[in-house]
């Protein structure tokens, strides 16, 4: 009898102990990322991987972009805009410290913005700062930015990872040891293996839930699945769409399909005959079967697009009906262009699977209308060199992942070789328009011109497929900008 009591008591105690440990939620997280960042300074490199580690976690800007592409206050708690739309006065949070203990003030804002737009700046998105005329420190908590002209997207621009505020003390060493104002501070980086962040003790904003986050580099999609299954890694915010089938029926995991800002397109060299003929480009658009391409290149995930705008963007207009899949119509247009016997061209494909797999399908679709493509696989470095810089190509497939980047079609010497004064005018107007209704109108106009001109073959919006532990909450569903914002991430008990 006594023995039974002892056993019972022990069992109750064990259960109670197990109960409490189950209620104390986990505070650590291991996230898998496919590419290692070359360094960790978002103001000095274009790699998305830099932002996927640091954005909103380590570094903060005046404003920030939220999970649904909205502009939110960040280090600036509020702002006012002058009536002519040229002067922005930002009221900054006080009591903010950098991770190295340095105080944050208006001087750091001036330093960071002046550095980014300087003559010798190596900021990868220098165009974000092009409209800034001067940055003035009014007092330690107020900064005044004067623009050369009113700019509709200015607050949005200041929310990019490239516009984060850095300290003059640590700006030069951020590549190896990033120092920001965010809720997580850099802890260690085992090159080729993982990057670890820990909770910052002196964070000014809402406290975060996680104590320690490790970004582990898993380059191989085949390795991601066992890493999840074994529990070694608990989240892959950017998962390979083709591997989803292996985990989607497992109740331990959540599969979340969202949108990115990556317009995946069949780029066309608009100056290269016969692609300089509108009928030829339109024929290509008619020949493309977007559904088949999405099914084959992206496991059926991803929304079709009819122009250069993400369907989740507030300025989006649906133009996917402009060129329905119509082989007869495509052949007819080719005949009008004097190419009824078809022609040969090349299709250069960079490494991502959307390009390599999509390329095969597109080549077969274009063959049906008489266009014979020679597929040339290229590496990224080669692609940037031959296609992007030297414009030595006929067709290529690529995803343009910068948010809201329809203006690239107005850039001089851009690799599309497209030059339409009407379109350029719309983009120039957009830059100086701040009225929302008018902006919406102009964006719609811009999208329509691109569709009418069939500048490129618009395919689909690259999906963001995230897979993570079902008990994990707060990770972003969409990717309006490259980021893994961990400020709201927590484990449910």
């Amino acid at each position: 009898m006594k023995l039974w009591k002892t056993i019972l008591a022990a069992a109750v105690l064990t259960l109670a102990a197990a109960g409490t440990s189950a209620f104390a939620a986990r505070t650590d997280l291991v996230i898998g990322i496919p590419l290692e960042p070359p360094h960790l300074d978002p103001t000095a490199g274009a790699a998305a991987a830099i932002r996927e580690v640091t954005y909103a976690n380590v570094f903060e800007g005046l404003t920030r972009i939220g999970p649904n592409s909205e502009v939110l206050p960040d280090l600036a708690e509020s702002w006012t805009v002058s009536d002519d739309g040229k002067v922005y006065t930002f009221k900054l949070h006080t009591g903010v410290k950098f991770h190295d203990g340095a105080d944050f003030s208006a001087d750091d804002v001036k330093f960071s913005l002046d550095r980014a737009r300087a003559e010798n700046s190596l900021n990868a998105q220098k165009q974000l700062f092009a409209a800034i005329d001067k940055v003035e420190v009014v007092d330690p908590a107020t900064v005044k930015i004067t623009l050369t002209h009113p700019q509709g997207g200015f607050l949005y621009n200041m929310g990019w990872g490239d516009a984060v505020i850095v300290s003059p003390k640590s700006a030069d060493t951020n590549k190896e040891k990033p120092v920001g104002t965010g809720p997580f501070k850099f802890d260690s980086w085992a090159k080729g293996s993982s990057i670890t962040l820990v909770k910052s003790d002196h964070y000014w904003g809402a406290p975060v839930f996680l104590e320690k986050v490790e970004f582990r580099i898993v380059p191989d999609a085949a390795a991601a699945v066992p890493a999840l299954l074994s529990g070694d890694i608990q989240a892959f915010p950017f998962f390979d769409p083709d591997s989803v089938a292996q985990v989607k029926d497992d109740p331990r995991f959540k599969v979340v399909v969202g949108a990115t800002e990556g317009e995946t397109i069949l780029s066309i060299n608009n100056k290269q005959p016969p692609f300089d003929k509108l009928q030829v480009r339109q024929a290509i658009s008619y020949a493309l079967d977007r559904k088949a391409i999405i099914d084959g290149a992206s496991a059926g995930l991803g929304l079709p697009i009819g122009s250069h705008m993400s369907p989740t963007n507030k300025y989006y207009v649906d133009l996917t009906g402009r060129y329905p899949h119509d082989v007869a119509k495509a052949k007819e247009l080719l005949k009008e262009a004097g190419l009824e016997n078809g022609f040969k061209a090349t299709l250069k494909l960079p490494p991502p699977s959307y390009a390599r797999l999509g390329g095969e399908i597109i080549a077969s679709e274009l063959r049906d209308v008489g266009i014979n493509l020679e597929i040339i696989p290229v590496e990224w470095a080669q692609w940037l060199d031959q296609v992007f810089t030297k414009k030595d190509y006929d067709l290529t497939i690529v995803s343009h992942t910068e948010p809201n980047d329809i203006d690239i079609y107005s850039r001089k010497d851009y690799y599309f070789n497209y030059d339409n004064p009407t379109f350029n005018k719309v983009i120039a107007d957009l830059d100086v328009t701040t009225d929302e209704a008018k902006r919406k109108e102009l964006y719609a106009e811009a999208q329509k011109i691109l569709a009418d001109d069939a500048v490129v073959g618009f395919l689909y919006e690259l999906p963001k497929v995230g897979v993570w532990d079902a008990k994990l909450q707060g990770l972003w569903e969409n990717a309006p900008i490259p980021a893994n914002d961990l400020t709201k991430v927590k484990w449910s008990e």
Binding site: P38, R216, I217, L229, D232
Partner: protein, 315 residues
């Protein structure tokens, strides 16, 4: 003997110099601009030029070659374009993974292969030989990444004995670090062992047909003694050659296994550096590997001399 070694050394040096020229030239021809890769599609041409200047990419070709080769001589391998840290630091970190991995795999493969080869050769044509050589044939044919995935599913996902991948670093303790190298070492070792076992077997069989083996048997030596003392020793030359080649492969040719287990090894460093056009890293690491291969080959050459007295007396 001395002349033999000196000749080997001279050949090794000439190979190094030739390799440095070829490596440098090939990478220069490779299309792609590291500066454009770093700054991306939105950077202006001026910014690209500025970065190229900073990286020293605008200097004349010959000057850059001499600068680099001169640096190598004084063991200065330059700074990585992308990581902007000294190349030697990167290499040291990676070697801490690749070298132990290669050694464990090599040890495993030798420990498996030599006895299997001996066993097969001595039982030539019998059931034991057929079974073990059949297994070896399978080992050669099965791609090691598939084998690696099977190991992961069994030992990491199902039994949860070892991590599915990654490397915690030696600072996490010897056992955790070793544990994460275990599966990759097995995945690497088995196909190597299969090859080695086959080579050992055929070399032994050839030797066992020699007259002196018959003589040894005829004078009454037990079969076991003949096999170990006379046959195996003479069969070692092709085995050593293969071992040398395998070590070089295990050190840097393991990129697929490194990817499957996401290990931060030397192979992945080179691969990553090539895709990012981090030329200085590629050039320096490739040269280091060339040097390692040459050193291993030298060692193999010296060990020939050790196992084969004729090589010593001939000079």
């Amino acid at each position: 003997m001395i002349a033999y070694l000196l000749k080997r050394l001279a050949i090794a040096l000439a190979t190094l110099i030739l390799a440095s020229i070829v490596v440098f030239a090939v990478l220069e021809i490779l299309p792609g601009d590291p500066a454009r890769l770093m700054l991306g599609m939105n950077a202006s041409a001026d910014q690209i030029e500025l970065l190229r200047d900073q990286m020293g990419l605008n200097a004349p070709l010959i000057w850059r070659y001499l600068h680099w080769a001169g640096g190598l001589l004084s063991l200065d391998f330059g700074r990585s374009y992308t990581y902007s840290v000294p190349v030697i630091d990167l290499v040291r970190e990676r070697l801490a993974v690749s070298l132990p991995l290669a050694l464990i795999a090599l040890a495993l493969s030798t420990v498996i292969a030599i006895p299997v080869g001996l066993f097969s050769a001595s039982r030539r044509g019998r059931a034991g030989d057929t079974i073990s050589m059949g297994a070896a044939q399978l080992g050669v044919a099965v791609p090691n990444f598939w084998f690696a995935l099977m190991l992961i599913y069994v030992f990491a996902v199902w039994l949860r004995l070892v991590p599915a991948g990654g490397f915690p670093g030696w600072s996490a303790g010897i056992w955790p670090a070793l544990k994460s190298l275990l599966l990759p070492a097995v995945a690497l070792a088995l196909p190597q062992a299969a090859i080695l076992a086959r080579v050992t077997r055929s070399a032994l069989i050839e030797v066992l047909n020699e007259d002196y083996i018959r003589t040894a048997r005829a004078k009454g030596l037990p079969y076991r003694t003949v096999l170990w003392r006379h046959a195996l020793r003479n069969a070692m030359i092709p085995v050593l050659t293969i071992l040398g080649l395998q070590f070089a492969f295990l050190l840097a040719g393991t990129i697929i296994i490194e990817n499957v287990f996401y290990l931060p090894g030397l192979g992945r460093l080179v691969f990553q550096a090539i895709t990012q056009r981090d030329l200085i890293v590629v050039e320096s690491v490739v040269m280091l590997l060339v040097a390692a291969v040459i050193a291993v080959n030298l060692l193999v050459d010296f060990s020939y001399a050790a196992v084969d007295p004729r090589l010593r007396s001939r000079s």
